[in-house]
Subunit: 337 residues, 4 copies
C-alpha cells in the first residue's frame, strides 16, 4: 500500500498517519516529492484496513501495490495445475471438451444428446438440473430428476458430468451425481456458496461474473482454494458491456492474463459469451489460440425447441465441425484435442 | 414476441415457423414488409420458449414486446406500495433513513454509532454481521455475536435493524434479530436466496446488482414477490462502468424509472455508489430530488479505523449536516424527513 | 509517478531503472518493501515518458500519483469561474437555462419554439444547424441557413444562441452567428477541433464523451484552455453503460466531482442522458440538487414530427412545469432560476 | 420499424398513429395482440423520423427491425472486398501485416525500426506524425517532418506507409505522403472527418471507437463509402469496459460479426486493445483464429524510451516470434502470412 498525502499536508498530519500505520504493525517508508509526500506501508500482514486511511483529512488516496490474490497466483505454485475430473485432465497438453444442452429437459433428450456429443469428441457432458433463470416464470430445471437423467447419460456414454449448483442445500446431491460442479456467473461472488464448494474436493467449473474484474475473479477463486479445495477450473464466459449485438463480450485477453497470473486451468464458454450460433465457432477457435485449456459449448439437436438458450446452441454436426476447426488451432499452439 | 424472418425467406419457411408457434399454443399475426416478413406471437402464456426460434435457419431475430416483469409492475398494483418496517414506513410522504457503519465491529462501536445516528435523525440502523468481502483474507464479520450487538443497539436506541444475509442457512437467525433483511448487490441474482427470503414476510432491502439492468432487477424482485413476500424495498447503489474516479456510477435515472415502472419503494445508497465521502452529500440530495423514498448512508465516528468502507463513511456531524441538506430538497418535492 | 519493481528484482536491475529516471532529469526516491522495491519519481516536468518504463523486464507497473489535468483544476484558479455568454452568467448563484429543439428544421419552427422557451424562462436557445448523426442517411442539418434562422430567433426573442460545431472549417461562420459554441460528445476527444475552438474567445459548451472518464474530460478541457480560451463550460450528458432502458446513464457523481476538482461551471443535459421524456424532469431536479450550474433541455412543440430526438423532447408546457420544479430545488441549494 | 402501442390505447389513438405513418409515405400493417396493438411500418424510405413517434402519448416504444447500415453491408456487395494498398491486398488469402512505433520520433528511429519490421515480415509501416494525445502536455508528434521521415523509411525499405489523420486540413499532405490514412478511435464518429476522407480514394484504416457498437461502426463506415471512397478497412482495437487490468477489452466477437455483416476487410490491433506487451502475442493469435484479415502491431526497439505507448510495444525479435506463431494459426484457418 502507498498512502498519498494531499499537497500542503503539514508535518504534523504526516506524522499522525505514520503513527497510525505503525500502530497497525507495519513499517513505514516516507518519500517527499515536489508537491506530495508519499508513505509506503511495509509488512507482510493483510493491508486492507489501510484502505480506510483514505478518510483522513490530509490523505489524498491509498493505492494498493501488490496483486490482491494469493492461493490462485502463479507464484504460489510455481507451475501450472493439472486438475483431474474422473480421468479427464484440465491444464495439460490435451484440451478438455465439455458439451451438451443448457438444460436437462427429459431423459430422452439428455441421453440422445450425450451420445451425439460423445461421438463428436466431447469428454464431459453439461446440462443444468437447477437453472438460475432471470425470470421466475421461466423453466427452472428438473432438479433431482434431472441429476438422475444425467447419471443415466453417463452410464450409457461414459461421459463425465458437470452441472450447476445454485444453493448450498443441494451440495450433497450434486457431489453424489456430478463429477464436476459448476458455479455460474451470477454466483461468482456468492461467497457463502464458494466456501461450501471449497469444503469438498469435487472439481469446480468456476465461471467469471459478468462484471467481475480479473483480479476480483482470482480473489473469489481464493475463497474456494482457502477452504481446502484445490480443484478449481476458471471459466471466461463473457462480460457485460455496452455492445448489444452479442449477449456478452467475450474477453479473451482475460484468458491470457489468467494464464499468466494464475496456475489454475482456464476454460472458455463461447456459447454464453456471444449468444449467437454463428459466432460460437470463430470464438472457439480464438479461445484455443489465446491459450484456453478447454471449451464448454452448448449443443442441442433441436435448438428451436430448447427450453433455454436455443439461439446459441450448435447442432451436433456443427459441433463436430467446430471441433475439427478447433483441432487445427490446437495443433498450431502445441496442444491437441 | 415478434419473430423477424430473414430477407428472402420462402413461403414454406414462414409457414414452418407459423406452425411451430401455433403448436406452442399461441396465435399468429403475419405482417409482410418490403424486405422482411414479421410474425407476431399473440397469447397470454410465458413466451420465453419462443426465444429459441432464433436458432431456425430462416429467422433473423426474436424481439420481445412486453416488459418481462409482472408482480413488481405498477400496473399489477395500480398504486404505490407502503411497506412497514416495525413502524417505519417506506413509500409514503416521509423519507425513511437508514444509517450506520459498514460492519458491526464491537458492542461498543455499534451502540455508540447507533446513538449518534439516532440523534441525527435516522430511523433504522445498518451494520453487517455477515460480510460479503471481495477477498477471503479481509474481515468477514462477527456473525451471530454481531447480531446480538445490533439487538442491544436497538434496545438502547429504539432504532430498527437492517443487516445483510449471505447464506440461506442464516435465515432463521436473521429473522429473529433483524427488522429488515438486506440482500447485497452480489446476490441480486442469487435466485435461491431470493426464493428463501420470499418465503418469509420479513421486509427486504433489495440491492440492485452492479451489472443488473433495471428490467432484470424487477424480474429478480418478482422472485421474492412470487414466493409470497410483498415487502420488497428496491435499492439503487451504483452500477459498474468504465469511470474509475468513483467506486461505481450512481444511476439515478434508474430511480425515476423504477418508480414509474413499479409500485415498490426505492431507496438510494450514495455511499457504496460513489465510494467517496465528499460525494455522499450531493448524491443524497440528488437522490431525493430524483424521487427516492429513502436513503441508506454509511456513518462511522472513526472512519480511519473502520474495518471496511472507511473512505466512504460520513462522520456523525457530517451525517447530520447531510440530513439537513436533504431535508430542504425533500420539502421542495413534497416529502419530509 | 511510482515505479513498482517486480518481486525478486536484482540490485543491478533497480539501479538501471534509477539511472534511466535520472537521465530524464527527475530525482529518485527508493523504498524497499518486504516483497517489492518501489521507485518514486520526483520532479516538476511532464512525467508521461515514464509510462514507457513499464516495458522494462524488471518493472511490474508504473502508477501515476498526481491528477493529470492542470489549467482546469480548481487549485490552478483557487475560486470558481464565472463565464459570461453575452450577459448570461454561468457559475454564479443564478442557474443558466438552455432550451430548444435538437435540430433547426425551418425558420418557422425555430422562431416559434424560441418564443415558447423564452416565455417559459430560458436564457439561451439551442438548435443544431450542423448535425452529427449516427447514420449518413439521416437529416444532417440546414447548415448556414439554419444559423440564419437561429439569428432571426435571437432578434425576435433576445435569447442567446448556442449551436454545435462539427468541423473546424465552420468556425468563422459559427463565431459570427452564435453566442456559444457547442462541442458534442462524439468530438470530446477531437483534439484538433478543441485546439481550433481554443484559439477563439467564444464561450464553449463542452460535452463529455460517452466513454470519457472525468479525468480525461478535464484533460480535454485543458486543450481548449491552453490555447487561450478561458470560457469553457463543462456538460455532463450521460455515459455509455450496459443499461438499455435509457439511451445513456446520467452520471451525476461526475457533476459533483467536476465541481470539486475544477473551477469551470458544469451544466447537465438530462434529455440526451436519458432519451426518455418522462425521465427529463426528475433528472433535471436531481442535477440541480447535485450542484449543476445550468441545464440544457430539448424542447419541441411537435415532438412526434421532430427530425431528430423527438422521444426525449419536452413540450413547452412540460418545460415550464419542469422549470417550476427545478426552481424549488434551486432554492433549497441556495441558487435561483 | 414497429410501433408498439401502450396497453389500453383507444381505437382513435391507434388511428392517429396510423394516419401519421401514412402521411410520411409508408404503408401500415396492424397487428392486435392480447394486451398491445402493434403497427408495422412498411416501405423503402429512411425510417428514422418514425423514431420520434415514441413521443406520442399512446405509443410505448418504437423498435427498428432492419439493420441500420447499407453500403457496408455484405448483402450490398454479395462478396468480400479486396482492397489494394499500393500492392498489398487486404481481404484475400494473405494476411496484411502493419507494424511500427506509436510515434515517429526521429528520422533515425523510424528508418531503423522500418528495417527491423520489414526484415521480420511486415508489409506496411505505421507511425504517427500527428498524435491525438489525451493530455495537451504530452508529445503531439513531429507533423510534416514526421511524414518526411516516413517517406524516407519507405524509400529505404519498400514498406507502404499508414499514418493517422487528426484534422481535415492535413488531408492533402497525408494523401501526398501516405499510402493509407488511419482514422483513430477517438475520431470514429467525427463525421466531418469521415466525409473528408471519403472524398479521396486513398485507402482508410478505420478504427472502431472505444464505445461504438458494431452497428454504429458500420454506419460510420457508410459515411466514408457514401462519399465515394470504397477503400475502407475496419479495425477492432478494443472497447472500454469496467475491466482495469487491460487498457481496453479486445472484442473479437466483433471481428467475426463484422465479417458476417460486412464485405469490408477487418484488421485487429492487439497492442492498443490490451496495452500490455505480454498479451499482444496471444491476442494476435486469437485475432487470426477469429478470422481477421490483418494485424497492426506496435513495435519499438527501445520501448522504455518510446515517447508514447512503450508498455505495449513489442521489440523486433518479439515481433518476429509473434509472426511465427501467427503464421501457424493462419495456416490452420486457410490463410497465410
Amino acid at each position: 500500500m502507498i498512502i498519498v498525502m494531499k499537497a500542503g499536508s503539514t508535518e504534523e498530519q504526516i506524522q499522525e498517519v505514520v503513527s497510525l500505520v505503525r500502530k497497525l504493525g507495519y513499517q513505514v517508508h516516507l518519500s517527499t516529492g515536489v508537491e506530495r509526500t508519499i508513505i509506503g506501508v511495509i509488512g507482510h500482514k493483510d493491508k486492507s484496513p489501510i484502505q480506510s486511511f483514505a478518510s483522513l483529512e490530509a490523505v489524498e488516496s491509498v493505492i494498493p501495490i501488490l496483486k490482491p490474490f494469493k492461493l490462485s497466483s502463479f507464484e504460489m505454485k510455481g507451475e501450472r495445475s493439472l486438475i483431474d475430473v474422473d480421468g479427464v485432465t484440465f491444464g495439460g497438453e490435451q484440451i478438455a471438451l465439455i458439451a451438451g444442452p443448457c438444460s436437462v429437459e427429459s431423459r430422452d433428450q439428455i441421453v440422445r444428446i450425450a451420445h451425439q456429443v460423445k461421438q463428436a469428441g466431447a469428454h464431459i457432458l453439461r446440462g443444468g438440473a437447477y437453472k438460475p433463470r432471470t425470470s421466475p416464470y421461466s423453466f427452472q430445471g428438473l432438479e433431482e430428476e434431472g441429476l438422475k437423467f444425467l447419471r443415466e447419460a453417463k452410464e450409457e456414454t461414459g461421459l463425465r458430468i458437470v452441472t450447476e449448483i445454485v444453493a448450498i442445500g443441494d451440495m450433497d446431491l450434486l457431489v453424489e451425481y456430478a463429477d464436476m460442479i459448476q458455479i455460474g456467473a451470477r454466483n461468482c461472488q456468492n461467497f457463502a456458496l464458494l466456501k461450501a464448494v471449497g469444503q469438498s474436493k469435487k472439481p469446480v467449473l468456476f465461471k467469471r461474473g459478468m462484471s467481475t474484474t480479473v483480479k476480483e475473479f482470482l480473489q473469489a477463486a481464493d475463497y474456494i482454494l482457502s477452504e481446502g479445495n484445490p480443484n478449481v477450473i476458471l471459466c471466461e464466459r463473457g462480460i457485460r458491456t455496452f455492445e448489444d449485438s452479442t449477449r456478452n463480450t467475450l474477453d479473451l485477453s482475460a484468458v491470457a492474463l489468467l494464464r499468466n497470473w494464475s496456475h489454475l486451468p482456464v476454460v472458455v464458454d463461447p456459447s454464453h459469451a456471444t449468444g449467437v450460433r454463428e459466432l460460437v465457432m470463430p470464438m472457439a477457435r480464438a479461445a484455443m489460440a489465446a491459450g484456453a485449456d478447454g471449451l464448454i459449448i452448448e449443443v442441442h439437436d433441436r435448438p428451436e425447441e430448447a427450453y433455454s438458450d436455443g439461439p446459441q446452441s450448435l447442432r451436433p454436426d456443427e459441433f463436430k465441425e467446430c471441433l475439427r476447426e478447433v483441432s487445427g488451432i490446437a495443433a498450431a499452439v502445441g496442444r491437441r484435442l
